[in-house]
């Protein structure tokens, strides 16, 4: 069982297999399941992700009324204008937003690694899919690659906003997505690790400050940002840009930053955007006191 990214890359290189394959083999061993069962379980998750994006792109609204409908706006803009940031990137953003809008509306989603950060992995997958035209198996492998990196973060740091801030949630999710994009695009395991490291470095210190305690503002747009960062980091890594700080050390730094983060910035709705005059007014409006 790999304990860190170095070991994960080590196994992939020694056995000359992809990171997704390392994760698949480990899962088969840990759960005593066949390859078919492991793949089928992951495909069920993929189906939930597809359904969530589809629902979000039709337009949903949360109970509080704080979020919903932005995914539709972005898609419409893409149809009518030429987006400055590029079709693929904005497509990923809209699908990440769609997923989190569905989540905020108490719809059904697949946590990747959490519900609040559930948009980054599927958002990027379904956008990159249109460019790379992967097989169904490769799409499922994308989730295993993401999972492998998330597995390391969860075991060595944290994937909880209450424990480590948004860097631990959207930071981890975006990092996982960037590593998976690299593999799908034909990059090496090392390049996946570089993409993960670059993404997470750019998310360090990001606080968890949900307005009114709801997984809506700023969570939905943080997933938009996470998805776009994931794609940019993947491109950097595929171009040969390396992270000066090794991936495992970045994960450890993220953990330590999270430990020193005041509780006001760890999902308590007591700091950051939640504590702005408008944030507080919205909370009052929603709860009526």
């Amino acid at each position: 069982m790999f304990r860190n990214v170095e070991e994960l890359i080590g196994i992939a290189k020694a056995e000359d297999i992809a990171i997704s394959e390392v994760m698949i083999r480990q899962e088969m061993k840990a759960k005593e399941m066949s390859r078919e069962q492991v793949f089928e379980n992951m495909e069920q998750n993929l189906i939930v992700m597809e359904e969530a994006v589809e629902e979000g792109l039709k337009g949903v609204k949360s109970h509080s009324g704080l979020t919903g409908g932005d995914a539709v706006l972005i898609q419409k803009y893409m149809e009518e204008k030429r987006p400055l940031s590029g079709e693929l990137l904005l497509d990923a953003v809209s699908k990440a937003v769609a997923t989190n809008e569905v989540n905020a509306a108490m719809g059904r989603i697949c946590a990747t690694p959490t519900a609040g950060s559930a948009g980054c992995v599927p958002g990027t997958l379904f956008a990159v899919k249109n460019r790379l035209e992967p097989s169904r198996e490769d799409m499922i492998r994308y989730l295993f690659t993401s999972g492998a990196f998330g597995f390391v973060v969860a075991n060595n740091a944290s994937i909880s906003g209450a424990a480590g801030g948004c860097q631990a949630e959207v930071g981890s999710a975006a990092g996982m997505a960037s590593a998976a994009i690299v593999e799908m695009a034909g990059g090496t395991p090392e390049q996946s690790a570089d993409a993960m490291a670059i993404t997470l470095k750019n998310m360090l210190g990001l606080i968890c400050d949900p307005v009114a305690g709801l997984v809506e503002v700023p969570c939905v747009k943080r997933n938009a940002m996470g998805a776009s960062q994931a794609i940019v980091s993947a491109d950097l890594a595929l171009a040969g840009v390396k992270s000066k700080i090794p991936c495992d050390e970045v994960i450890d730094a993220m953990f330590k930053v999270g430990q020193r983060m005041p509780s006001a910035f760890r999902e308590t709705a007591e700091g950051g955007l939640a504590a702005t005059p408008t944030g507080k007014a919205l909370a009052k409006e929603i709860y009526g006191s």
Binding site: M1, R3, Q26, E27, A30, K31, E32, N41, M42, Q44, N45, V48, S64, V102, N103, A104, A105, M106, G107, R108, I109, C110, A111, T112, P113, T114, A115, G116, A118, V121, L143, F144, S146, G147, A148, G150, F151, A154, N155, S158, I159, S160, G161, A162, A163, A168, M176, P210, A212, G213, L214, V215, E216, R266, E267, T268, A269, E270, I286, Y287
Partner: protein, 220 residues
Amino acid sequence: MKYRSVFDIIGPVMIGPSSSHTAGAARIGRAARNLFGEKPEHVDIHFYGSFKSTYKGHGTDVAIVGGILDYDTFDDRIKTSLETAETEGIQVTIHEEPSTPDHPNTARVLLKTGENELELTGISIGGGKVEITELNGFPLRLSGNHPAIVLLHNDRYGAIASATAVLAEARINIGRMEVSRKAEGAQALMVIEVDQNISDEVMKQLEGAEHITQVARISD
């Protein structure tokens, strides 16, 4: 290592909006229900830390009651659990606790029906994963990821052997086990995590085993 499966990371499939505050809460509630073994008449839920500050926004109360109604994380009925509890005559009281817990996402659940009572403390550690940290005053560590058996027994020699003999006979492998007690010679608690779900027959045998006073199971 706290997380052992890729499906802890890519998953669970759940009703939003928060894996720790909604899905995790549902799992804590469901663990309490499974150990309690029947529909409770009275439910007291104590929220601490981030659970206390944000439970309304995340639907933590709705989710934990959903769990107590035996719903899974992806069950649509979670959304209307409070109404369902009311219709079914379950009295639910939420308590907001000001003290700072060891873990920011902590909930203590008390279930009561007649003489049957259960008190369980659970923490939601991220991504929907939970740990049960206390049961009827006994500290323990139960991930809720594997099927498990919880046994109350007399604190005396042979109690552990009598329980494990039943499992060995049924060819059930023990993944992890933990024994704790309040005082020497008093009531003790045994927690056994196993690889497969426990059948009714094995449960019956455990109930009849020497020195064992109460048995509950948590299915996968």
